[in-house]
């Protein structure tokens, strides 16, 4: 356990250094946040409420989800650093470490997300709040579970990207597989447009997908759309996806491990 904490902390420190790049990213997130907000405001001007969102909720959704792009990282496709190590052959070193391969990468990714929540989630919300009336959580229960849903979202995102990385390793094709994954994530996470606007037949499928657990579900929790049992159920859906996807990844790791060809060396 101490080993993983050390690894996570090293990852936090490493990613905390790239402040200029992170703020550059946050700036782009903010600009897109404003455009997305105005796109939705124009739609909400035709109706006061769509899919259970009023205009304040829709605008908050835009800035909140823009702020989640960095830390959740689900649109990155796979795990580019690992793919790079497969290509260079350094992966052999990772497989030899006296630590669990998947666990090592998971804590590294959680450590990466930490500084990103500070550098890339807070600025868009602040910028949005300067111009619009944002809807902040009013119940203490929601504030309490925010860290939980955020961590679960990162874990689900990691588990998805881990599977993409395995597929890319097996197929010797990194970019094709990871862009396919990015397409699914863009479509089903709610970042393209809130899933609440989806047509009736597609909405339940999208909302139950693992991608929804990375962006839409945490955003809905923030917006206070879940209370009591429903709040617990939303967290449970994230946890179930996290466990299921990590489990599948674990099973496949053993198989890929036997098949992996170390390049170079």
């Amino acid at each position: 356990m101490r080993l993983y904490l050390t690894v996570a902390w090293a990852s936090v420190r490493r990613h905390a250094t790239y402040r200029a790049a992170a703020f550059g990213g946050a700036f782009a997130n903010i600009v897109f946040g404003f455009i997305r907000a105005y796109v939705l405001i124009a739609l909400w001007q035709t109706k006061p409420e769509i899919g259970g969102y009023d205009v304040a909720a829709a605008v908050t959704f835009c800035f909140l989800t823009q702020g989640l792009i960095g830390p959740i990282a689900v649109f990155n496709g796979g795990l580019p650093e690992v793919a790079q190590r497969v290509r260079s052959g350094d992966i052999a070193l990772d497989l030899y470490r006296p630590a669990d391969f998947q666990g090592w990468l998971l804590v590294t990714d959680l450590g990466r997300a930490g500084p990103d929540f500070v550098y890339r989630s807070i600025p868009p919300l602040l910028a949005g709040a300067l111009v619009f009336d944002l809807r902040l959580p009013d119940s203490p229960a929601v504030w309490l579970v925010l860290p939980v849903t955020a961590v679960l979202a990162v874990v689900v995102s990691f588990a998805l990207r881990y599977l993409v990385m395995l597929a890319a390793t097996l197929l010797h094709d990194e970019r094709g597989v990871s862009s396919a994954a990015t397409i699914l994530a863009l479509f089903f996470s709610g970042i393209m447009i809130p899933l609440t606007l989806f047509p009736v037949w597609l909405r339940p499928i999208a909302e139950l997908s693992p991608w929804a657990a990375t962006i839409q579900v945490p955003a809905d929790i923030f917006l206070g759309r879940y209370h009591g049992i429903a709040l617990l159920a939303a967290l449970a859906s994230q946890a179930i996806w996290a466990l299921a996807l990590l489990g599948i990844g674990r099973m496949l790791t053993a198989r890929v491990r036997r098949r992996v060809v170390v390049q170079g060396g």
Binding site: Y18, A20, A21, F23, G24, G25, F27, A28, I30, V31, F32, F34, I35, Y38, V39, I41, A42, L43, Q45, T46, K47, I50, D173, R175, G176, S179, A180, T182, I183, L186, F187, M192, I193, L197, F198, P199
Partner: protein
């Protein structure tokens, strides 16, 4: 110019060594950029008139912006890698070669996969043109290619301006996405959804309004929220030319300002 095509052809041949990967990347580009179009379709599931524009009208804006952006991106999009060239020290080598630095940076890693977006945007534009309810007079028809070419030049100039900024701040690569990709995103929609100050900024500061919004107001016969004189709607080529000039000057200043990383 010749150097550009030579480099572009070399990179295309390099990419063609992996035909399956290239095909998959082109298709995935097509689909990824198509997601924006799906968002517009979903919006029109909830309303038939969006900020006073019909679905074919918004698709017309989307298509013209997308085609211009895709061509500019394919031609010059890799200039946003300038920061990396500077950090890795490869920009020194670029300056030594007897080909303009901008041409080398722009043709670097040229990939036909970037044209995946062009196919998708052109498709949307064709559907829009077929379904638009517009009196197609000669001047309206002539304005369409003019706005697309002006759009390419404006986007390309914005890209060069953003890249030049990296001479000052090497890690600004992501921030400039706000102007390029953000510019593409915002011009897909009627600019009237923005506040007036934002439209003014997009007209006079970063003149993205001239990519497609101004000429489209004339073609679609829509009112200008800023109430500018009608001639402004035809100013796109002039604005494109001016912006190009500014971008060239700034780029030159940037190259002169450049100091090698020195390691």
């Amino acid at each position: 110019m010749r150097a550009y095509w030579l480099l572009a052809r070399t990179w295309t041949r390099a990419a063609a060594q992996y035909p399956a990967s290239l095909a998959m990347l082109t298709v995935s580009q097509l689909v990824i950029t198509g997601i924006d179009a799906v968002a517009i379709l979903i919006i029109f599931q909830h309303t038939s008139s969006y900020a006073g524009f019909s679905l074919p009208e918004v698709m017309f804006l989307y298509g013209t912006s997308g085609v211009s952006f895709a061509i500019a991106n394919a031609l010059i999009g890799t200039v946003d890698q300038l920061g990396q060239h500077i950090r890795a020290g490869t920009f020194d080598a670029i300056l030594l070669r007897p080909v303009p630095a901008l041409v080398q940076v722009a043709a670097d890693q040229f990939s036909p996969r970037r044209l995946g977006k062009l196919v998708q945007a052109a498709l949307v534009l064709c559907i829009a043109l077929a379904t638009l309810d517009v009196q197609w007079t000669v001047d309206r028809i002539a304005l369409v290619p003019v706005m697309i070419v002006s759009g390419v030049v404006i986007f390309a100039a914005v890209w060069v301006l953003g890249a030049s900024y990296q001479f000052l701040a090497g890690e600004a690569a992501e921030a400039m996405n706000a102007a390029t990709y953000g510019g593409n995103y915002v011009t897909q929609y009627p600019l009237s959804i923005l506040g007036r100050d934002a439209i003014r900024a997009l007209t006079w500061v970063i003149p993205l309004a001239f990519v497609n919004w101004m000429p489209a107001l004339y073609i679609l016969d829509q009112p200008d929220p800023l109430g500018l004189p009608g001639s402004v709607r035809f100013a796109s080529p002039l604005v494109a030319l001016l912006l190009c000039l500014v971008a060239a000057l700034v780029w030159r200043a940037g190259v002169r300002h450049y100091r090698s990383t020195g390691s």
